[in-house]
């Protein structure tokens, strides 16, 4: 007994020898970096173009990214659990095309919406089957389903856009709650709910544990596979909701809806400081990062900065943000 315990005080002593100052513990967090970047980006964007500093305009522009941001919230949880999902943008397209096809075939809008939501769940379950039952790596499975889902959307809708939805369905981005467009409000509410879920529920804590060490989580009796299955279902369902929001905003759907969105979603999650290897991250970070992206993208567009510079900046941001996040976590771990 004593022989086992004897080295312990030494270890504690060594750890205690260099306690990190409390301000560092609180401030040196990825979310802080995101928040600082958000402030800097806002100042720069205001300087770049006199047309930028207009809350109504920023909120209107944010509706173009908020659909991705809503999915990014769920993606954050998926990544915290140690997996990844690259297929949500394709799921948005396929579920939206199914919605459009059902409507065109004569189904009333509520039924078409149901079709779309069920398809989202089905696609999520399909991903989950490969990942949790066949135990294939999520990275490559979701690259495969990304191509498959978008391909199916293309088979279903061809190159045609399906539209002429009834007036009440179209234009959700222009329905306001106060001055906030409905999709943005959905994003804010979802952020609060998922933030609470992840932060204070037992299930939320278990997800962090799974991401930190899956083996330990299994030994602790956490139902790892069931939880992961649920997360991919949630990802599919959220994607189909985001697809419907997009369909309503555009008033029409096409197979190339949200194409390239996977990059934007991953970018938002990474910018928010979620650790790519799982176990760490927060909804708050993703929430802030979504606004950071809105400010940067809108700021550059309204300043007439060419798209080539925008692609370059987005790519660099993604790389720099993971390097920064990694560095911060490496510090706080030791």
């Amino acid at each position: 007994m004593s022989t086992i315990e004897s080295p312990r005080p030494a270890v504690i002593l060594r750890e205690a020898a260099k306690p990190r100052p409390r301000w560092q513990v609180i401030l040196v967090r990825p979310e802080t970096v995101t928040f600082l970047l958000l402030i800097i980006a806002t100042i720069v964007a205001t300087r770049l173009s006199p047309f930028f500093a207009d809350l109504g305009f920023i909120l209107e522009s944010s509706t173009y990214y908020v659909e991705f941001a809503i999915v990014a919230l769920v993606l954050t949880i998926v990544i915290i659990s140690g997996e990844i999902d690259l297929s949500p943008a394709a799921q948005m397209a396929l579920s939206a095309c199914l919605f459009g096809t059902a409507y065109r075939a004569g189904a009333p809008i509520p039924v078409a919406i149901l079709v779309s939501l069920v398809s989202g769940l089905a696609m999520g379950a399909f991903n989950a089957f490969f990942i949790t039952v066949l135990r294939l790596p999520s990275i490559i499975v979701t690259i495969g389903t990304l191509i498959l889902y978008r391909g199916l959307a293309q088979v279903l809708a061809g190159d045609k856009s399906i539209g002429s939805f009834p007036g009440w369905f179209v234009g959700i981005d222009y329905r306001m709650i106060g001055i906030v467009p409905v999709p943005v409000m959905i994003f804010i509410i979802a952020s609060v709910l998922l933030g609470l879920f992840l932060g204070i529920t037992i299930l939320g804590r278990q997800i962090y544990q799974i991401g930190t060490s899956e083996v330990a989580a299994i030994h602790a009796g956490i139902r790892v596979r069931r939880i992961k299955f649920g997360l991919f279902l949630a990802s599919g369902l959220t994607s189909s909701i985001a697809g419907l929001l997009t369909a309503s905003r555009l008033g029409s759907v096409r197979y190339d809806l949200a194409s390239g969105g996977e990059l934007t979603m991953v970018l938002i999650v990474m910018l928010g400081g979620t650790y790519i290897f799982g176990g760490r991250g927060s909804i708050l970070g993703t929430f802030l990062a979504a606004w950071l992206l809105v400010i940067i993208a809108t700021g550059m567009t309204v300043a007439n900065i060419a798209i080539n510079a925008q692609l370059t900046v987005m790519g660099l941001l993604l790389i720099v943000s993971i390097i920064a996040t990694n560095a911060i976590y490496a510090r706080s771990q030791r």
């Binding site: 047309f51 045609k160 555009l250 008033g251 194409s259 007439n304």
Partner: protein, 333 residues
């Protein structure tokens, strides 16, 4: 007397001030092509630039990286926020932009659809500037090919996507011409292939045409990516003497094939003139000198008299321009 002088001075001053304000506040036009890096739209941009140089309007152009349906929307919103007077756009979708167009127009922005229209959604834009009389594209392409193959034999069409609206209008007209005009009775349309305006897919589709129809005499490809791919395949297969390729292409894209004899002739119009015309029309409508309604006519230097047609559609030229060995050296776009 003094009073009169003062008043005169005030009036002069006011008119001077007004003049200065007018000069400092020219019509601002922005053009949003389908995507960046597309040489076809570079010619339209050149037309806008030259038009604005003479008219004194302010011109800018912004473009998304890819031509998917929604990629133009953030750019459009940003331009409305910048308060531009006229947005000229080559829409990537006939309907996905409707809501944004409506918002722009409610704020007084003039929306011009350039190079293609939005069939069925015409009331969401102010006017459309088309490159040519689209009813002539089909028959004129059939004639161009017929002439080369002695009006006899199997022919095929290589189009863009199955649902490309312009191409489908032209193909319908081609079919109609082949059926109804006895001159083309011996020309048989065997199939329509779709290359999705992707070089790789257009290439494999053309190769499949050659493999599936050994007696093929000619290919019509009414899309710039398709016609270049078709020509390249025919050249690679060394079948230029057996299979004639015609279509719609840009001179720079096709020059090689004309010079080495793979392609005898192809057609297009002038995207440059389209830009020029659009600039004149935009400034005229904004300043109130041109009425945007069917039947209005106005003058564009170098293009002559232009008439606004039904549904505010304006055609830049009546007939297609044919490019061949004799004239291709005169064009650079």
């Amino acid at each position: 007397m003094l009073r009169k002088k003062l008043m005169l001075a005030a009036v002069l001053g006011a008119s001077l001030f007004a003049g200065a304000a007018y000069a400092a506040d020219p019509v601002s036009i922005v053009y949003i092509p389908k995507n960046t890096g597309n040489p076809y739209f570079d010619s339209i941009i050149k037309g806008f630039e030259d038009g604005c140089k003479t008219l004194g309007c302010e011109f800018t152009t912004v473009a998304p990286a890819s031509a998917e349906a929604t990629s133009q929307i953030p750019f459009l919103t940003a331009q409305i926020q910048r308060g531009v007077n006229v947005v000229a756009i080559s829409p990537n979708s006939p309907d996905a932009l409707n809501q944004v167009f409506d918002r722009a127009r409610s704020k007084g922005t003039i929306i011009l659809s350039v190079n293609s229209d939005m069939p069925g959604n015409e009331d969401h834009r102010d006017a459309a500037i088309l490159p040519v009389d689209f009813t002539k594209t089909g028959p004129s392409q059939v004639e161009l090919l017929g002439k080369q193959i002695g009006y006899e034999g199997e022919i095929a069409i290589l189009s863009a996507t199955t649902d490309a609206p312009d191409q489908n209008v032209w193909i319908a007209a081609m079919k109609d011409t082949l059926e109804k005009d006895p001159k083309y009775a011996k020309m048989k349309l065997v199939t329509i292939a779709y290359g999705d305006d992707d070089p790789q897919k257009s290439t494999t589709e053309t190769e499949a045409l050659l493999a599936n129809y050994p007696n093929l005499k000619g290919i019509i490809s009414p899309t710039t990516v398709g016609v270049a791919a078709a020509a390249q395949v025919v050249e690679t297969a060394k079948k230029a003497d057996k299979i004639k390729v015609v279509g719609l292409g840009t001179p720079n894209q096709m020059r090689r094939f004309i010079e080495n004899g793979t392609v005898e002739a192809f057609q297009l119009w002038s995207p440059y003139n389209e830009g020029l015309l659009a600039a004149h029309f935009a400034v005229g409508v904004k300043n109130g000198t041109i009425k945007n309604e069917p039947g209005t006519t106005f003058e564009v230097p170098g293009l002559g008299k232009v008439t606004v047609g039904e549904k505010s559609v304006i055609k830049t030229q009546a007939d297609l321009t044919t490019f061949d060995k004799k004239n291709i050296a005169d064009f650079n776009f």
